[in-house]
């Protein structure tokens, strides 16, 4: 990682014309590194030398995380029996020996609740999709629905943490951090793992976004997700202060690099070279991020795909468009988190806002990627941390307050794009949507599958911490072969 000492000031400036420290910078990215680093904390930004383990089907991931747990039996998991048994007590055989949240307690006597909106079939695949999700229905032939998801957690924060980091306890590296660590960065002026968070307008059930949802855990902190913000600077401290123009900044940075080079000559500490390169990347980000977030070049017909809110910062629609722009620029892992799916008593009210704010943007993102030929190597994921009870929470006679409680035993997510078989449904729950019964997919299986699609054997991507080799999937997980294209 050393660069030859500079001989003359002129030589120095000849480099600065294209940005100071270009050589150090290139070596920092180190895409072609072949050596195994002696110290795991000093890994190249280019990822691990032996990765990918095999040819990747997807180069990047856009994960639309539906925080709060979408109600699977109202959106995708169609069960005519639920309609038929509406208002009847849920038979004990469906819940015997299972633990529910304290709000549900014992489900005995709880009443089956029919889906709020009707379902219909879409496309050649004939997928059943609720009227809540008409836009998603229209792209069903590009999507693979997994209806046999199940998890171990019944509270939001531990369940989200489990999905994203493989452990219900905060403090483990998340999926995006693992991928950045393993595969490195594909862009030299944006972070490889970015996060955006939103919540539906007027919701009363938003869940907090903890920063450990995109944390790097025990991996070096440069692998943690960078949150793009809805207000102010998209990235914290991105803008130069008032009164510091780009020209002034450039001049200061040129001299900063030059003085740091002198320091490097004296001390020989390679960290100094890295610092020079990082200041240069900061400068690049100051240009690349505003360029990224400036959507004035998007034609109207593209904006229309994402829905009415697309121009409004902080909305899910805006974030979906941003995700496509990030994907185009080589960002590895884009995590869009949208809260407000926690319909304990708002199935007939806020669920409409929730789906209005997310259905069209997520389908629009899929269509936009597809029309650009990017869906082939972009993995798109939509899903929450668990499902919701097929039975009612609340009073059957008080329709405006109908709700469903947390439900870990069956729920639906969908995946599309890079390496996923389109137009299919995988796995199934029972006839009331209570329990995943066919081709069950555990959270760790889902994680193993994502890594697989990116060319990584989930059992081989490890990091030694506190004396143990840790994996995203702990000691579990099987790739779900049935959904691979």
């Amino acid at each position: 990682m050393q660069i030859p000492a500079l001989q003359t000031r002129r030589q120095f400036f000849s480099r600065s014309a294209v940005g100071i420290g270009t050589a150090a910078y290139a070596s920092l990215l180190n895409r072609d590194a072949t050596a195994t680093p002696a110290n795991q904390n000093e890994l190249p930004l280019g990822g691990l030398p032996h990765l990918p383990h095999y040819a990747a089907k997807a180069k990047r991931v856009i994960y639309m995380f539906m925080n709060g747990a979408p109600t699977h039996t109202d959106l995708f998991d169609y069960n005519p029996l639920q309609q038929k048994m509406h208002g009847e007590p849920i038979p004990e055989s469906y819940f015997r020996g299972k633990r529910f949240s304290t709000m549900t307690g014992n489900p005995a006597g709880k009443k089956v609740l029919a889906p709020v909106e009707p379902f219909r079939q879409y496309g050649e695949s004939g997928a059943w999709v609720s009227d809540f999700m008409k836009h998603t229905g229209k792209v069903a032939d590009d999507v693979c629905f997994i209806k046999s998801m199940h998890t171990e957690q019944v509270n939001h924060a531990p369940a989200v943490t489990f999905f994203l980091s493989g452990s219900e306890m905060a403090g483990r590296p998340t999926l995006g951090a693992w991928l950045s660590y393993g595969l490195g960065n594909d862009t030299d002026n944006l972070p490889s793992f970015t996060v955006m968070t939103s919540v539906s307008k007027g919701t009363t059930c938003g869940q907090i976004f903890y920063d450990y949802y995109w944390g790097s855990g025990f991996l070096p902190s440069r692998f943690q997700g960078v949150k793009f913000r809805a207000g102010g600077d998209p990235v914290l401290y991105l803008s130069s202060p008032a009164g510091v123009t780009r020209q002034v900044r450039r001049g200061i940075l040129d001299d900063l690099a030059q003085l740091n080079e002198l320091q490097y000559k004296e001390f020989g500490d390679p960290e100094i070279q890295t610092r020079i390169a990082q200041y240069e990347m900061a400068y690049k980000m100051q240009a690349s991020v505003p360029e990224l977030t400036d959507i004035s070049d998007e034609p109207q017909h593209v904006l229309d795909m994402y829905g009415a809110d697309v121009k409004e910062r902080g909305t899910f629609a805006h974030h979906c468009l941003m995700a496509r722009r990030l994907a185009e620029r080589g960002v590895r892992f884009i995590q869009l988190m949208h809260a407000g799916w926690d319909q304990h008593g708002s199935l007939t009210t806020e669920l409409y806002n929730q789906t209005r704010d997310t259905d069209q943007p997520s389908a629009g993102l899929l269509r936009d990627l597809k029309q650009r030929g990017m869906l082939e190597d972009t993995l798109l994921v939509w899903g929450g941390e668990f499902g919701r009870t097929p039975f009612l929470q609340g009073d059957i006679n008080n329709r405006p307050k109908w709700g469903r409680d947390h439900h870990p035993y069956a729920f639906t997510i969908w995946m599309a794009g890079g390496g996923i078989k389109p137009g299919m449904t995988y796995g199934a729950s029972d006839d009331l949507g209570m329990n995943a019964v066919k081709d069950r997919v555990h959270v760790h299986d889902f994680q193993a599958t994502i890594l697989h699609l990116l060319g990584i054997d989930h059992e081989q991507l490890t990091f030694k911490h506190q004396g143990r080799r840790h994996r995203l999937t702990d000691v579990h997980g099987n790739v779900v072969r049935g959904i691979l294209a």
């Binding site: 709000m103 907090i208 070096p220 202060p241 009164g243 003085l259 490097y264 960290e271």
Partner: protein, 836 residues
């Protein structure tokens, strides 16, 4: 105790010196023999073999009984040398008869160990080591950190630290480096001991002091500074997962800061570390515990609290106790206990039962786990001196008012007799008066007042006055900050082992005790937290002193002698300098756990004082500088970078202690994370310039201006140190740094007329040294450039100068001030300014 390969090495050296007495032929033979012996003895079980077994075999053949395959364990002496049905695992001296060797070299994939699907494999070098170890007699030793340290001998007149470091260097064929320049040394030691840079006056004083004791005088001065305690407290707060909120949904504000101030004071008063330990883990259980001793136990209550609706209280409570116990394990024992929640430890001799026996010590508080009260009892009201005086006064006045009422009551019914209350009334009042005053309820007081209004006006007045005063006292008491502290219930809570750590899956009952691998607790005292705390700091305990001196070493060298500060178990790294670690640990205990003395011993050494200059050869030989052939050089913690900027600019407000403050932070960071439920109210005036230690720490979204800092969610004892563009953006653009650059510019403009002098002073404040000619020329050229840039657009200059709340001296020409602000921002971002 460890056998020391260095001693062996020395003895060989002495044999070789005797060599000339032999004939050439003999001496050649002898040399061969010595070489063979040397390579034979070079294999040390503790250093070379245990790690191979631990990494590759313990997972299935280790301490975890539940996961053990083929009833074979390789982590104990018995297991390794066992003979079962004619098969010997390891036959000392006989490779062919050793099943272990046969299996690791086997070509049969069904037999070969580790199995192919285990994701583990042995390198040829490792197989070679195992084979040679067996060949040479398979000498076995217990894990090093579980044997009590024995203080190694140091030749008379030698500095022990330098002696051990020097020997290691010699072994590696490396030379130590020369002493660092005085400026750089002063910068290093000032940051290490106070977290602040030296002032110009301190630099000048040190530079002009040619006496032998010059450096020692500096060290003594720094150890006396009250900033010393603030610097030392930071790392302790990381370990103690201190924060100003609960964490989780709701993230309610707590008031644990009096505990934080206690920590600062304890460091400043050089409280012996054994006492520091006992007070924090079990101060409440000391005989006639003082307020201060109880306050110290707040350490255990700094864990997160989950107030999320729908959570099961007992599940929360169990989580809190896990956290308390595991924090103790990391901080005092350097052991990672977490895996033993569910199963026997995979690598260390700690069983699940022993985990829950340690858990039982902490399982005795009255905390129920319900709700999210950030001042959950047991707690301690802890006011400022004024508040405490107020509280005393109100208590006195309440007592006086009560005594007045009681006095009147003695004759109350006699006095009112002639006013003719009915018999019924008299009986009712008599019944109430039969209760002691402090046991009466509000309804009874109301009856008394009504009675007084009718028949004894003065009495009614007295009762009302008492109740008003009491309410005033209680309201004042409720308004005081409250520190959650420890307290054991009179009736012990039963402790059960929990399947997979689940609160609702108890199995066998256990009682508090320490793990069997260590010396047992004394039998003449109750097995409570106090006994545990005393057991930890008993000089015979193999871990507490080693783990502690290692953490302190890490502060001064960036890396511990054991790099895995949090793990001294068999999966942790072995010490780079085992003798030095043991010497420091025993010396620390002998000195009465004197922390300041430990720090002084470390910084006075030649090892610490070396220059950080590294030749390419030195980097190639020891990239991470683990052998200490040069001085340590690493980036300052982000909190020190901020304190540095405040200090050099003259903005720093050095007030000690008190409630946390809210420095600059971009708007809406809190509200974005909490859907508007939490709003950040930026502080004003002095609050913006306090030391970083006092910045309000919201657990779910920590202060944004810090990077690479512990999350303060769970115990953290090893600092992260990365290098990313986001850090650069912070120190270039955060208001704190832009304002500091402006203030620093003003400081040098006001002090000097000439550019060279101004630049020199600003450079010195940022880096602690004077700039070279080349550096001055670069800065002068930039200054001219900036002047012309701002001259052509004075509006930009004024905008830059308006960043930050502190006023600027309007007498300074705006263009000149802006140009210098640019220079000072550059200086504060120099690698050298960010580094110590």
């Amino acid at each position: 105790m460890l056998e020391c390969t260095y001693y062996q090495h020395t003895s060989h050296a002495s044999l070789t010196i005797n060599m000339p007495r032999f004939s050439p032929f003999l001496s050649t033979c002898f040399l061969f023999a010595t070489a063979a012996m040397a390579s034979a003895e070079e294999i040390d079980f503790a250093r070379d073999i245990r790690q191979i077994l631990s990494d590759n075999c313990y997972h299935c053949h280790g301490p975890d009984e539940g996961a053990r395959e083929a009833e074979l364990r390789l982590d104990t002496k018995e297991g390794l040398f066992r003979n079962l049905d004619g098969t010997t695992v390891v036959a000392p001296g006989n490779v062919d008869a050793s099943e272990l060797i046969r299996r690791v070299v086997s070509n049969d994939s069904d037999e070969r160990m580790p199995p192919a699907d285990s994701n583990r494999s042995l390198t040829p070098k490792q197989i070679g080591l195992l084979t040679r170890w067996v060949e040479n007699g398979a000498v076995w030793k217990g894990h090093w950190s579980f044997q009590p340290p024995v203080q190694p001998k140091v030749p008379k007149g030698k500095n022990a630290i330098d002696y051990f470091v020097g020997r290691r260097l010699e072994q590696a064929g490396l030379e130590p480096s020369a002493e660092a320049s005085k400026e750089r040394l002063l910068r290093r030691v000032t940051f290490d001991l106070t977290g602040l840079p030296p002032t110009i006056e301190e630099l000048d004083a040190f530079l002009s002091d040619d006496s032998q004791e010059a450096f020692e005088k500096v060290v003594d001065r720094l150890l006396k500074s009250h900033h010393y305690g603030e610097r030392m407290a930071w790392d302790w707060l990381d370990a103690a997962r201190y924060a100003d909120t609960n964490g989780f949904q709701g993230d309610r504000e707590r008031t644990m800061w009096p505990w934080r101030d206690w920590v600062v004071a304890a460091f400043n008063n050089n409280m012996p570390f054994d006492q520091f330990t006992v007070w924090q883990l079990a101060g409440d259980l000391l005989p006639e515990a003082t307020v201060e001793q109880r306050l110290a136990t707040g350490f255990n209550r700094n864990h997160m609290i989950n107030g999320e609706g729908g959570r099961i209280a007992e599940e929360n409570r169990i989580e809190y106790v896990f956290d308390q116990m595991e924090t103790m394990g990391t901080v005092w024992m350097g052991l990672t206990f977490q895996c033993s929640r569910c199963h026997d430890h995979k690598f260390d001799p700690l069983t699940r039962r022993e985990y829950y026996q340690l858990f039982a010590f902490f399982n005795q508080t009255p905390v129920t786990g319900s709700g999210g009260d950030p001042q959950t009892a047991p707690n301690l009201a802890f006011g400022s001196p004024q508040q405490e005086a107020e509280r005393d006064r109100l208590q006195r006045e309440t007592d006086d008012a009560r005594m007045l009422v009681e006095q009147t009551e003695k004759a109350l019914l006699n006095d009112v007799n002639h006013n003719q209350p009915s018999d019924k009334e008299v009986k009712q009042i008599r019944d109430i008066l039969a209760n002691p005053l402090l046991k009466r309820n509000n309804e009874q007081f109301a009856t008394l007042e009504k009675f007084g209004d009718k028949y004894a006006a003065e009495y009614a007045k007295q009762v009302r006055a008492f109740r008003a005063k009491r309410k005033q006292r209680d309201d004042q008491y409720r308004s005081l900050p409250r520190v959650m502290v420890m307290e054991d219930m009179a009736k012990p809570r039963k402790t059960f082992m929990l399947t997979k750590g689940a609160y609702n899956q108890p199995t066998q009952e256990v009682t508090s005790d320490t793990p069997a691998i260590f010396r047992p607790l004394p039998t003449d005292a109750p097995k409570n937290r106090l006994a545990l705390a005393r057991w930890l700091v008993d000089p015979a305990h193999p871990l507490a002193a080693r783990v502690t001196v290692n953490r302190h070493w890490q502060m001064f060298f960036g890396t511990g002698l054991v790099k895995t500060t949090e793990d001294f178990g068999s999966q942790g790294e072995r010490p780079s300098h085992p003798h030095l670690l043991d010497w420091l640990a025993s010396k620390f205990v002998q000195s009465g756990w004197d922390v300041k003395l430990l720090h002084k011993m470390i910084v006075m050494t030649a090892t610490y004082r070396q220059t950080a200059k590294a030749s390419p050869a030195s980097i190639a030989a020891d990239a991470e500088n683990r052998l200490l052939s040069r001085g340590s050089r690493f980036r300052l913690s982000s909190w020190m970078i901020r304190d540095h900027a405040l200090s050099t600019s003259g903005l720093l407000v050095g007030t000690l202690g008190g409630p946390p403050v809210n420095p600059y932070q971009p708007p809406d960071v809190w509200s974005e994370a909490t859907f508007g439920k939490k709003k950040y109210t930026q502080g004003k005036g002095e609050d913006l310039y306090r030391r970083s230690l006092y910045s309000f720490w919201r657990r779910i979204v920590g202060p944004t201006m810090f990077f690479d800092e512990a999350k303060r969610q769970t115990c953290s004892v090893r600092p992260g140190r990365t290098n990313t563009p986001l850090h650069a953006l912070t120190t270039m653009n955060d208001i704190t740094y832009v304002e500091a650059a402006r203030a620093l510019a003003q400081r040098v403009i006001m002090s000097f007329e000439e550019d060279t002098k101004r630049l020199e002073t600003a450079f010195r404040l940022a880096t602690s040294r004077k700039p070279s000619g080349v550096e001055t020329r670069i800065l002068l050229t930039r200054l001219k450039q900036l002047r012309s840039q701002y001259d052509s657009d004075p509006g930009e200059a004024r905008q830059l100068l308006s960043v930050g709340d502190s006023p600027r001296d309007e007498n300074i020409d705006a263009i000149e001030h802006a140009a210098y602000t640019g220079i000072c921002s550059l200086l504060l971002n120099l690698d050298e300014a960010l580094t110590r």
